[in-house]
Symmetry: C3
Subunit: 159 residues, 3 copies
């Protein structure tokens, strides 16, 4: 009975701390030999953005969204006590002090552990995000694919 | 083995974008022949409010809550970059531009697909919301009914 | 076939209303004879803080976090319409008016019903929270223990 268990996380949030929680759970589950998927939708997609500026050809609204949203995990704010970025700096300081991992490292570790990172194609359409703007080696899928995984999943979370 | 799978969503949030995510997942699961329930509690109840003003006989606090909370799905703000409603307008614009569905349409579609929309009676009591203020053809239940569904569910999410 | 069902909640949020929802579901599930665990992580840990000031020996950053974060369930703000605490007062008023339970009572009830209250040790490290600052009779564990419970759980929620 070596049935593989699975963990499926919808990462909706664009908050640094919530994304940390998602990736810590994902990395833990992968270490436990779960098949793990993080489905990045809405603001959660920002965690998959490259941090450099990527030249793209976009409409006005899509350009606006692109500018207003953080470029990559390292630039995301925290959900509580952000105080214009001060809270995020404090969190990063304590993470370093305790030799814990920052979000970009957690994402790298997830990729090394074969956690499947999925970008929601519907959100990409809506917000005008293009594949060139996102990290390499991620998957592209919609809600149907998510449900196909989740309906047989053991741990399903919306974060 | 034609066992029906089930998806049970607690919609706690009163944010337009989070409610969109809840209804997109619900409609997807219904299309997959899941038995789907959305249990609306706390601010999530606002998604079920009628948009017209309904005359009711309420105490002071209940009147205050009624006024401060958005009347219906279309008036809900977004969780990020709301900027006094500007973010919500931008989201609605891109939804139209891409021929995607706005929240009120997603709710209609859910009703057509027999997604069970439940209003949490405890929250209605607390916030002083009355049945006349909510959409037609919804169910009324408490946490016990939710747990009865969820304990055998395949996809359980708190949004 | 008297198999025990289980409910596992990750309480990430430090909002009064979200913690209420978590504890209402937990108490309901316990009444249904589920084995129930609430894993308090990040801001959710604040729900387990004692309300009195506990003398501790901490570094500067940890002291800052300790001061900025609410000391105990009763001092947590709400996620919507907090308006510098006014929303929280209104919520407490309607709770009293309807003879419902405030958050500290919900937590007490959970302890009486043997809901397992777990404090995430990684977060305690990061934010510099010490056992003396938290309620009595709680457990201390990490993400591995959470996953061990959740992978066989019936209702898994992230709040």
């Amino acid at each position: 009975m070596s049935e593989t268990k699975s963990t499926n996380i919808v990462l909706f949030s664009g908050d640094y701390d919530k994304a940390m929680a998602a990736y810590i759970i994902a990395n833990g589950a992968a270490a436990y030999d779960h098949k793990v998927t993080i489905f990045h939708t809405f603001w959660g997609l920002n965690a998959l953005r490259k941090d450099e500026l990527v030249k793209t050809n976009k409409g006005f609204l899509e350009k606006m969204f692109g500018k207003m949203m953080p470029r990559g995990a390292d630039k995301m704010g925290i959900s509580k006590m952000n105080y214009a970025g001060m809270g995020q700096k404090m969190i990063k300081k304590v993470i370093k002090k305790h030799n814990a991992m920052e979000l970009p490292q957690l994402i790298e570790m997830a990729q090394e552990q074969d956690v499947e990172l999925v970008a929601c194609t519907m959100t990409m359409d809506l917000l005008g995000l293009q594949k060139e703007e996102l990290l390499e080696e991620i998957e592209y899928a919609g809600v149907a694919a998510y449900l196909g995984d989740a309906e047989d999943g053991n741990v399903n979370l919306f974060i």
